[in-house]
């Protein structure tokens, strides 16, 4: 069940619009003026195959966001490297989309303008991208809201728009940092299924950060269990549940088994400080 260290540093680092992410001893230590440095992430190894869906799960402060930022190029590693496809990450790349915990929609733009913003910035605003954005909005059930402003949408709708924005440019990698943690249970489960359908239709490599163990199990091919002080990946668990996954799975004993297996990793590490799955 626990996957061996990646023997397959794959020869073809991209497959059908998705790219491999190879994290090679990447580490991050924050230096703080007048205080001892924080080892936010110990040297970390992880290879995420093209088109794979991997979750990072762990308690607060275990370096999930830190690792995500290294992959996104939003922060520099203080050791090791991250390679996306064949490109060593040194700065952000539009091929790598990020969805944040807050929807981070610009309130002065309409839903449609927000979704098209990355294309506008990249200078790739064509009929095709507009078409793709319209399809995405249709898919997430927000076609009728394209001329609305973010303040007129519910939290769940806003987060849908921010996912559409991340996917509109057909990125090769999608990084999500607790995208659903601010949503209620019902909306969250609906968005899980939408996300999985979007991912199936347009394969891309996904790294999904969450506090929520069952969310990670439901969505992922593999779950990386992280632990804090210093931040690190404790172990990586394969989720051998069949796809496509549907809500019937949520009550499946096999599903519960996986969830409690991951839970036990946390209790072993003594890290499960009241975190609920």
């Amino acid at each position: 069940m626990v996957s061996a260290p990646p023997e397959n540093l794959v020869a073809h680092p991209h497959v059908g619009g998705a790219e491999q992410i190879a994290i090679d001893s990447a580490a991050k230590t924050y230096l703080r003026r007048g205080a001892s440095p924080v080892e936010a992430l110990r040297p970390t190894e992880l290879v995420v195959k093209p088109g794979e869906f991997v979750s990072l799960v762990g308690p607060s402060g275990c370096g999930k966001t830190t690792l995500l930022k290294l992959i996104a190029g939003l922060d520099h590693a203080t050791g090791g490297s991250v390679v996306v496809g064949e490109r060593k990450v040194t700065k952000p790349d539009p091929q790598v989309s990020v969805v944040f915990q807050k929807a981070a929609l610009l309130k002065w733009y309409t839903v449609e303008q927000n979704v098209l913003l990355p294309a506008r910035i990249a200078g790739t605003l064509t009929k095709q991208t507009r078409q793709r954005a319209a399809e995405l909005l249709e898919f997430i059930g927000l076609a009728d809201f394209k001329d609305r402003y973010p303040s007129e949408l519910s939290g769940g709708m806003q987060q849908r728009v921010s996912i559409a924005r991340a996917l509109a440019g057909e990125p090769k990698v999608l990084l999500m940092d607790e995208p659903f943690s601010a949503l209620d249970e019902f909306t969250r489960e609906v968005l899980h299924d939408e996300l999985l359908r979007l991912w199936t239709g347009h394969p891309k490599t996904v790294i999904f950060v969450t506090h929520n163990i069952s969310e990670a199990v439901y969505l992922s091919d593999r779950v990386a269990v992280m632990a804090p002080r210093p931040g690190r990946i404790e172990t990586v668990v394969d989720i051998d549940l069949p796809r496509p996954r549907t809500s019937a799975l949520r009550t499946d004993p096999q599903f519960f088994e996986m969830v409690s297996a991951i839970r036990s990793h946390f209790s072993k590490a003594g890290a499960l400080g009241g975190e609920s799955a």
């Binding site: 944040f100 807050k102 733009y109 769940g156």
Partner: protein, 282 residues
Amino acid sequence: MTMTAEPTSTTKVPRRRKAQPDALPTANRGSAVAKNVGLRLIVPAVVLLAWWYTTSRDMVSPLIVPAPGDVWDALDSYVLGGVWNEDILSSARGTLWSFAIGLVLGIVGGSIMAFVASIKTAVYPYILAFQAFPKIAVAPLFVVWLGYGDAPKIIIGASLAVFPVISATMAGLIDVDPDEHNLMRSVGASKRQELRHLRFPRAMSYVFPALDIAVVGALLGVITAEIVGTEYGLGRVITERAAYGDSAAVYAVLIVLAVAGAILHLAVSTLHRVMPRSIVPK
């Protein structure tokens, strides 16, 4: 084809481009407006009544508080009669120029100081210090240097109008949400694009509320400079009429200024409303 948690998202919704979240349902809006107008009229009605009462009983000297009727006569002959046309025009022109200059200088200066910390360190304390000078004390210097024309009043007016715009621009440009900033970085936005799509609209949402203060500042600065000395202007009228003991005329000027303030406020909020939301967030 899509499962959605909010049933509303699958139903047709009418477009509301200019939707205002706090707008009342249309059925109530008419009576709400009437109610607001009614509320606004209470204070002037009470003041007018008290005013009329005190003057009609000769409780105070007409030199201090002239009768409402006398003030109305002054308004009638000086304003409607056109005697002050030249003065009103001159003050209005001065105010508009002061406001325009203050707005442009404020946005440019505020942007420079927001982005170049060393310039801010070098200059901002002195802008604050100048702000602390009573303008009535500075105005004579400008009049001595620049004469009795429009220049001194525009300078004083602009110096009052510029400050709120500078501080709002600086605050708006500096205030950036870390997630939004990371979003712009992650899509590979250049500094210029980040300015255009993120910082500028946010700054505008700070600047527009400050324009209310700026435009009143422009008016006050102009009147102050005119009181000190000018050829034409309502400030000049105040000093002249006061010297003749013509309190009714001074009151008439004050009423004209109050109306001007209301018009300027209306103009600024209308400007805010008609600007596209993508440039000035609401």
